[in-house]
Amino acid sequence: MSASAESENPPRPWIWATLFVTNMALIAAADIFDVIEQPVPLILIMLNMCLLAPMIAAARQRQEQIGAMSPALRIYNNRALACMFIYMVAMIAGGNLYHVVGEGSPLLWPIAIVPVLPLLGMIWTMYRYYQDEQDEFLRHRAVTGALVGLVLVLVTGTVWGFFEMYGLVPHIWNWWVFPVWAIGLGLTTCLKQRDGSAE
């Protein structure tokens, strides 16, 4: 792609990110207020996860363009994409198999464990990135994002927990912590990217 073509049509990862977050919020709201019933929310979440692939591809292009890429970040992106792909396949397969094997079956154990493995892989991928990144500004940006993600999880969990205790909001599955943490990480990375953008 030529330089003029890149400037005319620059990658816009935030469009994909906004679409992803908006969809997730709408699905969560529809599920919480019983507008849709399982497995519809699960299928919608799985479909929405597909948006992460173009988002990461656009983010990678943008990082290359603005000089925010490092060898460790390239490896991280590849590993994260692989984990996300395996996760999506495991979730789609699990969502379908759940209704085939039925409640109480011991086969539910492997169905539940399989999507956990790529998520644990994501956590390991992040750990490796923090270890491997030699560019201290990029590492500082990633660590700050992880801390903001943690703050978001603590605030959301604490507020929701008390609301739930008094029956004001319904119970939600605990795996919400990972996407909420990732949203905090992603938003901070986008905001901190501005610190090093313009020459």
Partner: protein, 63 residues
């Protein structure tokens, strides 16, 4: 912390990317340091000093 990176770069006719390549960091890092949004570690500040062949205190200054 203030710094004279922009001036020193201009004297050598280096872009941020040129300096980043010499130091071994991303262009974003150079920009963040140059604009005072990120203070480099001591080892990285020494690397800048080596590249410009100047003492650290002539590149990075107190506020």
């Amino acid at each position: 912390m203030k710094n004279r990176l922009k001036v020193l770069r201009a004297e050598r006719d280096w872009s941020q990317q040129d300096l980043a390549d010499r130091v071994g960091v991303s262009r974003q890092s150079v920009n963040a340091i140059e604009t005072g949004k990120y203070d480099p570690s001591l080892p990285l500040a020494f690397t800048f000093a080596d590249i410009f062949e100047m003492p650290i205190e002539e590149i990075f200054l107190r506020e």
